[in-house]
Amino acid sequence: MKARRASLALAALAAACTSPARAPEPRARLAVEVLAGFPAAPAPAPARPSRVELLLDLTASMRAEVAPGVTRALLARRAAERFAGALAGEVEVGARVLGARSGSCRAVERRVTPRAGESRAGWLQSLAAREPAGEGSLAGALDALGAELPAAAASRDLRVAVFSDLAGECGGDLCAALARLVGNGVRVDLVAVGGASLPDCARDLDAPGPPGLAAAAGSDPAPRFRVERAAGAGPARLLAAARADGVARSLPSGPGTVLIDLDPPARIGPLVLPPSRLTLLRILDFPGLDPPVREWSLETLPLPAGPTPGSEAAGR
């Protein structure tokens, strides 16, 4: 029995002596994460050609006075004249009148534009000189206007300015009409006279769809990084290379410089990567900000229990 034990010990010793004596290299863990902004500032988009449509309400309710000698119609007309006169010359302008002819709930009149050489304020003054006479649905007028506007509102800046007391004698769903216009890319300014206020449903309307910028954000995968250690006069030794996606990687402990493929490239270090610890390097990179911002933070943490080297998450 003793002889058998001795022979086993000798065999173990022999096995140990046949392989070269080599202490295992202490390992560290490193996680690199880039929280990025947009890649670069865009060139300003060119201004689009503008078209403005005026809708002047001259229905019967506009006869009411808002001040001694001043009717709603007069206030609306004066505001519209001032507005039209102040629009830049290159803006295409058209106008429609609602309720200028007698009758109940008539449709909006056909669009009119200034004649050549006619001042806008003067044109509108003559257009709106008529007294309120009939009735008409503002919602219906907006729908009719929307149907006449070009379908592709994206190609130009389309705006509608409505001068009205928002009285709804002829019915129609004003909010639905506004939502349809907005859905087609048209902006609407409601100039409410006579104490009328915008319905809440119209106030809550937002520009439809997600921002175009969402599609451009972060389409690229996480940038790559590598860790190098200087080796005297020779080429640097590559310790690790991976994506900066926040996943911890195992690599030799000791000094190392982290190089990240950003624009421009980032060089951080040399750092000391302590053995059996997780080094967390996080970079904020906003090259598109004016001025650009790049910041980084370094944190050393105890290793989470039971990790699988090279594949575990950074523990956040």
Binding site: G37, A67, A84, L198, D206, G212, S219
Partner: protein, 272 residues
């Protein structure tokens, strides 16, 4: 840990607030998930939210003229990251696809009716009061004749009054504000310049913060009306220099002026 829990709760509440504002606050591709806010318990994620908000604000401003719908979407997006941002709320409101205006009637005796010249500020004009000639006041009843000539004016009424720069300045500021209400921006600027000159005559040490700030706000409002944003910025810088705690009534002040004031305040802080 307790603090972290409180931060998480605050973040959740901010998310709820952003959701109430109607914004879709899902992270975009490449953004950290869940989308960080400026109140994130992780300082780096919170900093990312601050920088992302600044980046989106720069893009929103660039888009305001050529792509107003995109600008409004971007201002809304900032509210996901920073639900308390007054700048983003103002931008979102300013770029809303449907805006309401309620011009007041301003009755001014003797003012000839007609549209004042406000070229270049058409959309801003929709909020301005509309001036009309007031009906003439009733004529005073003539005094009964008693065979004596009317009394001569008192000597002090015709003698030149001593100059009072502060009163002159206040009158000029008032004139500037009246001109603004009627969208007479050039006239407002002239009156503001007179007020500035009158205040300059006063000895140092006088407490002139309030009138100085008031006149510079009036000047800036006129300059914004004339699309001269650089000059407006300088005026508002002088306003916040005079009165660092200057606050304007958001109900009565154009969002453009409010935003320009915040920019001026930020510029002043950056200079210090």
């Amino acid at each position: 840990m307790e603090n972290r829990g409180r931060c998480a709760l605050a973040t959740t509440l901010l998310w709820i607030a952003a959701g109430a504002a109607g914004a879709d606050c899902e992270p975009w591709r490449g953004e950290p998930a869940p989308l960080p806010t400026v109140a994130d318990p992780d300082p780096l994620r919170a900093r990312w939210a601050v920088l992302r908000s600044a980046e989106l604000a720069q893009r929103a401003r660039l888009a305001e003229v050529p792509e107003p719908f995109e600008a409004q979407r971007l201002w809304s997006r900032i509210l996901c990251l920073d639900p308390g941002s007054a700048l983003a709320r103002e931008g979102r409101q300013l770029m809303a696809p449907v805006r309401a205006h309620q011009p007041r009637v301003e009755l001014a005796p003797g003012r000839p009716p007609g549209a004042p010249e406000i070229r270049g500020a058409a959309w801003d004009s929709l909020d301005l009061p509309v001036a009309f000639s007031a009906p003439p006041p009733p004529a005073p009843r003539p005094a009964p004749a008693r065979g004596r000539p009317p009394p001569a004016p008192a000597p002090e009424a015709s003698a030149p009054a001593p100059r009072r720069p502060l009163e002159e300045a206040l009158r000029s500021i008032q004139r500037a504000e009246e001109a603004l209400r009627a969208a007479r921006f050039q006239e407002a600027l002239r009156a503001a310049a007179q007020a500035r000159a009158a205040l300059g005559e006063l000895p140092g040490g006088a407490d002139l913060a309030a009138p100085r700030a008031r006149l510079e706000v009036a000047a800036a409002t006129a300059q914004i009306g004339l699309d001269d944003e650089a000059a407006a910025h300088e005026s508002l810088l002088r306003a916040v220099e005079a009165d660092p705690g200057l606050r304007l009534d958001p109900e009565r002040t154009s969002p453009k002026v409010l935003r320009a004031l915040e920019l001026a305040r930020a510029a002043r802080r950056a200079r210090r």
